[in-house]
Symmetry: C2
């Protein structure tokens, strides 16, 4: 079983994956191990994944058979395992617990050759509904403190399967990056009685220098202190702490702005590798409701300075966010749907 271990100095949790147990020779140079012909996520290959935990499909079709629009399956090589007790314990000054959690894959379309931006708004909306439905299901398990949803697009961003998909990891601890946002937002709220994200949105809309696009419900911005060139955040204009609690009327506007933001990045940067991550308040606790504001952080992977920045937390961004916003706004979209 894998272990969750805590750094004693900065309280950062790490998953140590005993089963995977990679040896020096396993770190082969790029691409060697990428699948060539057979794709486990394609329609017709349902038997090559673990059995689906959820799917959107017509009622006359059967689970784990063709005919689906979207499938959610357990990751075949999970970083955490679903069965067992967390068993938190100490080893001298170190803290650790069993590597318990869920690790799922959201297969966003049955068709191999589609980019996520090739999906129409209904199909894109289904991805967002799937995020919600999986959070609502998994939050019933009291072992899980956080449900983290993310996408790795492109090999340079960590994707090992080309077929477009997102991932979900449910963990018995809250990830450090989310905790830092929760604390910062709480600190601001304690002083101002306002949500800091709402304050940022208000200032961004009035300054209008870093906005990529907006609609009635959402805004897509290049953040003031962007770490990466073309880092882009999508936020609901109305205060909301938990992604999964937003009204149904939000999903279509979110699908629209999310898809168009990705289209603009794809056109401006020629389909760059990227990651996005959904930052939402931890499940099953209510104290963040006033101070925290869910959002999506989208990080194109264009520069290679990662290692140094890991060690320092210091970022050098060679593209001012105001310029990035201009480039993205100027992109000409070709209407396809």
């Amino acid at each position: 079983m894998s272990e969750l271990r805590k750094d004693p100095i900065v309280s950062r949790w790490v998953i140590i994956s005993e089963e995977r147990g990679k040896r020096p020779s396993d770190f082969a140079p790029d691409e060697k191990k990428r699948q060539a012909m057979h794709c486990p996520f394609c329609e017709g290959n349902e038997h090559t994944t673990p059995a689906e935990v959820m799917s959107y499909r017509p009622s006359h079709t059967e689970p784990n058979k063709p005919g689906w629009y979207l499938r959610v399956v357990p990751n075949k090589f999970p970083a955490l395992q679903i069965e067992g007790e967390i068993n938190p314990r100490g080893e001298g000054i170190f803290d650790l617990m069993h590597g318990i959690g869920a690790h799922e894959v959201i297969i966003e379309t049955p068709l191999h050759q589609k980019d996520i931006t090739d999906l129409n708004e209904t199909e894109f909306g289904n991805i967002l509904y799937a995020y919600r439905d999986r959070i609502l299901d998994l939050k019933r398990d009291s072992r899980f403190k956080y449900i983290l949803i993310f996408k790795n697009q492109g090999s340079a961003a960590g994707a090992t399967v080309d077929h477009t998909h997102s991932q979900l990891i449910a963990t018995p601890v809250v990830p450090k990056a989310v905790l830092e946002e929760l604390h910062g937002a709480r600190h601001h709220f304690d002083i101002k009685e306002r949500c800091i994200f709402c304050d940022v949105i208000r200032q961004e809309i009035s300054q209008a220098k870093r906005i990529v696009i907006e609609n009635e419900k959402f805004v897509s911005i290049e953040p003031f202190a962007a770490r990466f060139p073309f880092e882009t955040w999508i936020l609901p204009k109305q205060h909301q702490s938990h992604f999964e609690m937003q009204p149904n009327s939000n999903y279509l506007p979110l699908a629209q702005i999310f898809k168009e933001t990705l289209q603009r990045l794809n056109i401006a940067l020629d389909y760059p590798p990227y990651n996005y991550v959904l930052h939402t308040a931890p499940v099953n606790r209510t104290e963040d409701a006033d101070s925290y504001h869910w959002h999506i952080e989208l990080m194109p992977k264009l520069t290679k300075v990662a290692g140094f920045e890991w060690g320092s937390g210091f970022f050098i961004n060679p593209t001012p966010p105001e310029n990035a916003a201009d480039y993205l706004k100027q992109v000409k979209l070709v209407e396809t749907n």
Copy 2:
């Protein structure tokens, strides 16, 4: 002039580099822009770098001429500029200051084809003395709160010049990753009246599961909650907060353990790309003397999961540090010096 901008939510500082002003088309695919023939760091090409700020060279040779063992020059494309006032200011809820600082390159050898581990212990020791001498010089400038020393080895780790070198960035703020360690160490000290790094070293030596090598003065370990496969830390066994304040008698033992650790990584992993960063207490403040403990963090770049982890602060390490320590211990060194 570039700007230092602070994220209003998590208080992370970022350098926004206006001059570099990278446009979408500047993010060309790999390798294109690497220098082919001419190396600015080679002996004989001294005129192609900015004038040296320091060098180790025989007294009969002239600055910016051949004959040197080690040179320190300003970075030709500095992320921060040395002249000017910091001028901290606000823009609504955002905080920023001028991008003031130093950005220097430590050219570790005149010879292009040398890996850092090809240097003998005296030459390796010179690199460590150069780190010290530059810190001692720059700390006299009261605008600088931190002096960050790091190395990017290999293109995948962010190096743009092959000729072996380290870098130094002096900043008017303390990097977030260092602040987090300072706070964690202070918290431990307030409760226990002990340095947490000293506690970790004691436990690691007594458990003897994650030690790579040690000598009288230093220990090289795979940390308990390592973020990356083969992440390795080198720490002085005796408590010491500031790298630049250590006794002269430490430099040779440090050169020995540092070089041998890198040799073992190079042999086990076939000269992997890596970054290392020197974590030392901020200059010109004394409150960290009891609680903080300088060390070197060495991070081989073997996996490609960076983007997701940037967004979550959550790490998945497929090589348990105990296994990594075993592999590194078993490496057979060939004596070359």
